[in-house]
Amino acid sequence: MKQHKTQRKAVALISGGLDSMLAVKVIQKQGIHVEGINFFTGFCVEGHTHAIRKKHKDKQKRNNALWVAEQLGIKLHIVDVVDEYKDILLNPVHGYGKNVNPCLDCKTFMVKKAVQWLHEHDFDFIITGEVVGQRPMSQRRETMPIVAKDSGGNDLLVRPLSAQQLPATLPEREGWLDRDRLYDFSGRTRKPQMALAEQFGFTEYAQPAGGCCMLTDESYAIKLQDMWHNRPTREYELDDIIMLKMGRHFRLAPHLKIIIGREEGENNFMQGYKNQFVSIFPTSHRGALCLVDGEFHSDHERDTALALVARYSQGKNAPEVSLGIRQIDGSETQHSVTPMPAQAIKKEWII
């Protein structure tokens, strides 16, 4: 039995979006000590793109979860779950959403990790920014109890924004929280959240309702499915999923994909993979770096790749472009090709 506690403690799942920000504030206002937890799965949208692409250099580069924590005056614990998350993505018990987003399994996993953290750090309950009916998969009235049960969070899991729509949790029954000062938000409308944000004086916040996961992005999902389809196994490493975010991807054959950098920032970043992938680079003109994921089974495949890379160089209208092919061991060969005309790029290559 816990004794002599002067202040109850809650751990909050912080995504960096508005809902978790509001949920924390609601609980702080009831005198609860809150600390945040944020899970890095490898599929976060904001970090990689902004870091890699030079054209985003003017955008403010910040981690929204950290920013939110700072606005709320709470500690934030960022946990690397990249390896553990693979099983969630590859084998979701409740399946995928519209793309390759295993939202229900994902939320359950994160709450389960928070439960573990709670026990390790002697905290009392968990809060999330979930709202009944907000999301088609993980935030439905029927699925929210599944998250609570399967995660082991049970009645230690409090959703402050929708609490009045849900059965009373232990913190409410025990009087740690005043249920009347929790909320009854539901549905996809954002108006109640906007109004509460205004009431709390939050004038700046990240894109409402999250949207921070690449797995919900159609274009990314297609690239991921292509990778799975053309490899002997769906297992992946962090580098694999980062690579899916950069460059133009062309699937030339089941055993061969090439990735051509779109701009200087990506080219610079891709340079770091030259010891893991065969690379192609124009030598007679400025142009994009290309990484070869797979191998050439014929000179025709090699020349197709060279012509495509030439197409995306500044020599695209030149009669001939010289390019180098660098092997992983550093050895290089020189080649000259006619850049591929736009109309020769087959639609089925483009991922």
């Binding site: 902004h50 870091a51 580069k61 910040r62 614990h77 960022i78 690397d80």
Partner: protein, 80 residues
């Protein structure tokens, strides 16, 4: 005269947000109050994220330098 600070270094180059912060967080957890750690990274987001992480956790950023696309941040640990 204050005692000399024990200095540690963390190479977070080529890691993308939020990994430099996670690696910093994990390294700092093993250090004592008063020790210093220098984090070298290439993700421009670390210029905001590591100081932000330090502020919410009570650690002090002693300096931020940039050279050759590298960001070098020195932190003094304070496990308050």
């Amino acid at each position: 005269m204050s005692p000399s600070k024990t200095e540690h270094q963390l190479d977070a180059r080529r890691l993308l947000c939020p990994l430099p912060v996670i690696r910093t967080q994990d390294a700092v957890a093993k250090l004592q109050t008063g020790e210093q750690i220098t984090v070298i990274s290439t993700d421009p987001g670390t210029k905001m994220d590591i100081p932000s992480w330090c502020r919410i956790n009570g650690h002090e950023v002693k300096s931020i330098q940039e050279s050759d696309n590298e960001i070098i941040i020195t932190i003094e640990i304070n496990h308050c």
